[in-house]
């Protein structure tokens, strides 16, 4: 399949009149995959980092994701985008990781997951006043808190939608769920985020009125 794709591309360009050798096809496929790694690696890493809050683990899983993708590159039929396909691999790897950790409960594995406070220190640029920065930090912290309370599936769907800004159809393809289920998970996740933000908003308002 990979050889066929590569050969079609060369034929279309009209560059090769003589039949392509297996080595050339292999080389072209390799180049194609290298391009995909370069363009999609940061996004896969970001999704895994947001899911695990562990930089080392996110890096390891990203490596595994691309290794697996490379091994199965020949089987990629192009029915979905490469990003969706890669994201599906990343989601499965992440699931396997948590399942293995649950099964190996006796093993004391070192975790480098940062806490919510530390994760909330990264603030969006462009905030000018101190008050705006404080508000942004508080909001980010509350969203992290809500995300922590979500189920694995809700968290995945939420992060894909609001961090990676993926379309519902892409999320459905990546997660293997129907669009309706994705919408339901997203709605529940948003409800929890809204509740977390609302609680803190009320707390702040009552503190202000008390003062």
């Amino acid at each position: 399949m990979r050889n066929m794709r590569a050969s079609t591309r060369v034929m279309a360009a009209g560059a090769a009149i003589s039949p392509m050798t297996a080595e050339t096809a292999e080389e072209l496929a390799g180049q194609e995959f290298a391009g995909i790694v370069e363009s999609h690696r940061p996004q896969i890493f970001r999704f895994l980092l947001a899911s695990t809050r562990d930089i080392d683990l996110a890096e390891t899983l990203t490596q595994e994701c691309f290794l697996k993708a490379h091994r199965n590159w020949a089987r990629f039929r192009g029915e979905s985008t490469a990003m969706t396909w890669l994201m599906r691999i990343a989601i499965n790897l992440q699931k396997d990781h948590w399942r293995n950790r649950r099964l190996q409960f006796w093993r004391h594995t070192r975790t480098n997951a940062v806490d919510i406070d530390e994760a909330s220190e990264w603030l969006p640029s462009g905030e000018r006043t101190v008050e705006q920065r404080m508000l942004a930090r508080e909001q980010v912290e509350q969203v992290w808190k809500a995300v922590e309370g979500l189920s694995e599936r809700q968290r995945t769907v939420f992060l894909l939608r609001y961090v990676e800004e993926q379309e519902l159809s892409d999320i459905a393809q990546s997660t293997g769920l129907s669009e309706g289920t994705v919408k339901a998970h997203l709605s529940r996740a948003l409800g929890k985020v809204r509740a977390e933000l609302g609680a803190s908003y009320e707390k702040r308002r009552s503190a202000k009125s008390g003062a």
Binding site: P42, F45, L49, W122, V143, W144
Partner: protein, 126 residues
Amino acid sequence: MADPLLEQALGNFRQSVHAWSKAAYERPRTAAPIAVHRGWRLAASWALGCVLAAGSLTGALYKYHHRQVIEKTSVAQARRSQQLAVQQSRTNDDEDLLANVDSDISRDVPAAMEPLAQLMESSGDQ
């Protein structure tokens, strides 16, 4: 709660995650300390494994030796008690034989002395 606030919070969250991920992705990698740590851990686990293996081997050998000693002792005891029983039965046999001989001797008297023997028996009874 108004939706603009939720949208603002989600926007801030997205930008925060993007900023964190960018910084983490571009950070310099340090692999040496991890390798050293792993080396120590490997050595420690090997040492622990060796100690456990040696311990279990020693335990098994000690148990085997202990069992053999117990077996030897019980065999010796059985042999000794058997010898005692044989000795005792031999002594009993000798005593019976001597008693038989004694009674035979005492009964076997010449015909001429039979009346005298009867006399002795009757006096013994009295």
